[in-house]
């Protein structure tokens, strides 16, 4: 390995550097004279590492300083803090669109971006490079000998029929703290009323609320909970070590598909290197059929063929749920459904 690579506990380091909260920081230091690309991302370094290493293979003069943070922190860093990053990667499509809409992003045009389908880019500023479904993850132990629920209606019926088995053993995002959870919830609510009925049921069974997909997957695998709703399918797929213990279900009534998106912030110091990196992301995910990329839970072809897969559209519609009033109302409604006091 040519790169001096180190991971630091960022509570030590991030404090004096930035006011926003970092979760992780990794430096891929190249011996070359080239620029250092500062990436701010909601994606765990573990999942990004192969892509980054492939990029550095092609561009050995560039160094990469990778920062991981939550989606809200990413947004905050780039707007309020005006922190200088060259690429912002986020699973929160709404926040990325908002960045671009409000003028915090810069244009990037290349052969790679032109190759993207119309719905996978917005304003030449937001570029989708993954397709990741929101899935239901079930514990194999708990569903031993049972028909697996394939739709939300199945799930509602199942929970209603077996309250004692699932009481306190359902997990889902806490949409108050998770940007991605909020995105999934709002899209679900927009797509079907079933979401609210399911939420009522889950709330009635003391659903546990999580910050992250990884935690939910872990708890399902360990049998801590029996099922988790709206888990990132790409993360679940990536945990091949746990596939013995879990089922990954893409609901047949509809499966929300999220795009991880990259934005080059207005304040980028190395926009050219950033453009190269964004092109690399797009090419390694869209262009290659069998890429080593761990995020392609859904291929563009699969998307075209399946009726139940519903990709979230990049566009101004995403701004609606970011509205102060709209968000407050949604969270009130959501809390009323999910955070019920036990009777």
């Amino acid at each position: 390995m040519r790169y001096a690579f180190f991971s630091l506990a960022l509570s030590l380091l991030a404090g004096p550097l930035a006011a926003f909260e970092l979760e992780e920081r990794v430096l891929f230091d190249s011996p070359g004279e080239g620029p250092t690309l500062r990436i701010l991302s909601t994606t765990d370094i573990g999942l990004m590492r192969p892509v980054i290493e492939a990029f550095l293979e092609e561009n050995p003069e560039i160094s990469i300083d990778y920062h991981a943070a939550s989606s809200t922190e990413v947004m905050l860093a780039l707007t309020e803090e005006a922190a200088e990053f060259d690429v912002a990667i986020s699973s929160a499509m709404d926040l990325q669109v908002r960045l671009a809409n409000d003028g915090y992003a810069q244009d990037h045009r290349s052969d790679a971006t032109r190759g993207l389908p119309e719905w996978a880019r917005w304003h030449d500023q937001v570029f989708g490079f993954t397709l990741e479904p929101a899935t239901i993850v079930l514990s194999r132990d708990d569903f031993e000998g049972m028909d697996l629920p394939q739709t939300r209606q199945d799930l509602i019926a199942l929970l209603r029929d077996n309250p004692e088995q699932f009481e306190g053993r359902i997990g889902t995002y806490d949409v108050r703290t998770s940007g991605l959870g909020y995105l999934f919830a709002t899209q679900d609510a927009r797509t079907s009323e079933t979401y609210w009925r399911l939420s009522e049921v889950m709330g009635g069974m003391q659903a546990r609320l999580y910050c992250c997909s990884d935690d939910m997957i872990g708890d399902v695998a360990s049998g801590e909970i029996a099922m988790a709703y709206n888990v990132l399918g790409s993360y679940a797929d990536a945990r091949t070590d746990l596939h013995e213990d879990i089922h990954i279900i893409r609901p047949e009534d509809f499966t929300t598909v999220m795009m991880r998106t990259a934005v080059i912030p207005e304040t980028a110091q190395a926009p050219d290197a950033a453009g190269l990196f964004v092109d690399h992301l797009i090419e390694s995910s869209w262009a290659q059929e069998n890429s080593s990329f761990s995020f392609l839970g859904v291929t563009p072809q699969g998307l075209a063929q399946s009726a139940s897969l519903r990709p979230i559209q990049l566009g101004p519609g995403l701004l609606v749920y970011l509205d102060r009033l709209k968000r407050r109302q949604f969270l009130e409604e959501w809390s009323a459904a999910l955070v019920q006091q036990p009777e």
């Binding site: 809409n101 917005w122 304003h123 566009g315 101004p316 609606v320 009033l325 709209k326 109302q329």
Partner: protein, 459 residues
């Protein structure tokens, strides 16, 4: 030399240029109209979507337990999505106080509750904004909720771009087609004019029939006046011919009468001084009679030369008849007219004119030669030409004088005592030239006397 005034140019070019200029103007007007129309339509359609968006937000505004609740529908913004990914901004205010959205967004102010539109600058972009207000009642007091939705205009600009490119192509296409039509129109118009010109100039000089060329309606007045002019011209020709004949008659008759009276009187008068006066009187009468005759002949010759009509003329018999006719005159002076080598020759021309020319030459020979001499006439053919030469045995032409004698009213020095007007050789010269012929005046090489030769091309 040109009888046309300069500066009027060519009808074809003028017509073509005028049509081209108007085609260019129309093309520009077409472009401007299409462009403005497109801009208006584009702006209107964006305004409509913006208004629908604002209306859908107001629609979702309600009062719940004394509080304003606004549930912005998803489609309020998603309907603004377009291929150019135009950016969207909004603001919702209650009685002027911003509830949510972009605080610094400028609203479109205007009277009434109808949507107001404005184009404003916002964060370095130009936005089209709509502002619409809805009045609600909360706890019995009125509340105004104002929604402003703004959008960048990239899509509109692109559509406008596309349409203006199309409009430019349309304008150019229109111009090219009109230009071709203009050139064609110019050519067709010019052609009908030149057809008329050709049909007029093709006709012979004697052809004074009216023009019947098929011409466009606009040119009919021209043809009509042209025909009227031709009619007047041919009338004038006929009248002039009649007039000359009439005038010759009217002048000669009284002069002949006066001369007869004077001669009668001379016979009866004995006093020598009276007789001298009478002789001078007779001489003056002869001079006048000759002058009038020659003038009228000359006029007639000029007229016939102007509209020369060619017919075959047998020069041989014409010369013979003329010699016979003047033989009595010659005899009065004991002169002999000898026809020597007389070849047969036929020429194209006006017999009256040719006869007139030969007669004047023969008269001169008789007039300017002493009595009791002979006049020799020869008709020869050489190199496709007929040569009629008349030789006398008189004094001949003075050296250097011959070339001037064809001038009008020009007489030689030897003419002092003889009656004449100086038009005879003028007539002969004009007739010869009108027939592509020549008159040559020399003196005989052997012996004294003048030799005048008229030559004409053979038929």
């Amino acid at each position: 030399m040109s009888i046309f005034r300069a500066g009027t140019g060519s009808i074809r070019r003028r017509l073509t240029l005028q049509l081209l200029a108007s085609a260019a103007l129309l093309a520009v007007v077409l472009f401007v109209i299409v462009f403005n129309f497109a801009r208006q339509i584009g702006a209107e359609s964006q305004d409509r979507v913006l208004a629908a968006s604002a209306a859908s937000i107001l629609e979702a505004t309600a009062v719940q337990s004394g509080e304003i609740v606004i549930d912005i529908p998803y489609f309020a913004f998603s309907m603004l999505d377009n291929a150019n990914d135009d950016r969207v901004f909004y603001q919702i205010a209650q009685d002027g106080e911003v509830l949510t959205g972009y605080d610094d967004l400028q609203t479109a102010r205007g009277p009434g509750s109808a949507p107001n539109f404005a184009t404003v600058a916002f964060r370095g972009e130009v936005l089209r904004v709509v502002t619409q207000t809805r009045r609600l009642s909360s706890d019995g007091r009125p509340v105004n909720v104002t929604v402003t939705v703004g959008q960048t205009r990239d899509a509109q600009a692109e559509v406008l771009n596309r349409i203006s490119r199309m409009a430019v192509a349309l304008g150019i296409g229109f111009f090219v087609v009109s230009a071709l039509l203009a050139i064609l129109a110019g050519r067709v118009t010019a052609e009908s004019l030149s057809r008329l010109a050709a049909s007029v100039s093709r006709r012979g000089p004697e052809d004074l029939r009216p023009v019947v060329a098929d011409v466009p309606a606009e040119m009919r007045p021209l043809v009509r006046s042209l025909n009227a002019m031709i009619a007047r011209l041919s009338g004038a020709f006929n009248r002039t011919e009649d007039f000359i004949a009439e005038a010759a008659h009217r002048v000669r008759t009284p002069l002949a009468t006066v001369r007869a009276h004077a001669e009668n009187t001379l016979r009866r008068v004995d006093r020598e001084e009276n007789r001298d006066s009478l002789r001078e009187m007779i001489r003056a009468i002869d001079e006048s009679s000759r002058a009038a005759g020659q003038l009228l002949d000359h006029a007639m010759v000029s007229l016939r030369v102007d509209q020369l009509e060619l017919h075959p003329v047998d020069l041989h018999s014409l010369t013979r008849e003329l010699a016979d006719k003047l033989a009595p005159v010659a005899e009065m002076r004991d002169m002999d007219i000898r026809l020597n080598r007389m070849a047969g020759a036929e020429v194209m021309g006006d017999a009256i004119l040719i006869q007139n020319a030969l007669r004047n030459v023969l008269e001169n020979a008789i007039k300017y030669s002493p009595a009791d001499t002979a006049i020799d006439i020869d008709l020869q053919v050489r190199d496709h030409r007929a040569y009629v030469s008349i030789r006398d045995q008189g004094p001949g032409f003075r050296p250097g004088e011959a070339s001037t004698l064809t001038g009008r009213f020009t007489r030689g020095e030897n003419a002092a005592g003889t009656i004449g007007s100086g038009l005879g050789l003028t007539i002969a010269d004009e007739v010869a030239r009108a027939h592509n012929g020549q008159i040559e005046m020399t003196n005989n090489t052997e012996g004294p006397g003048a030799c005048v030769t008229l030559s004409f091309p053979l038929r």
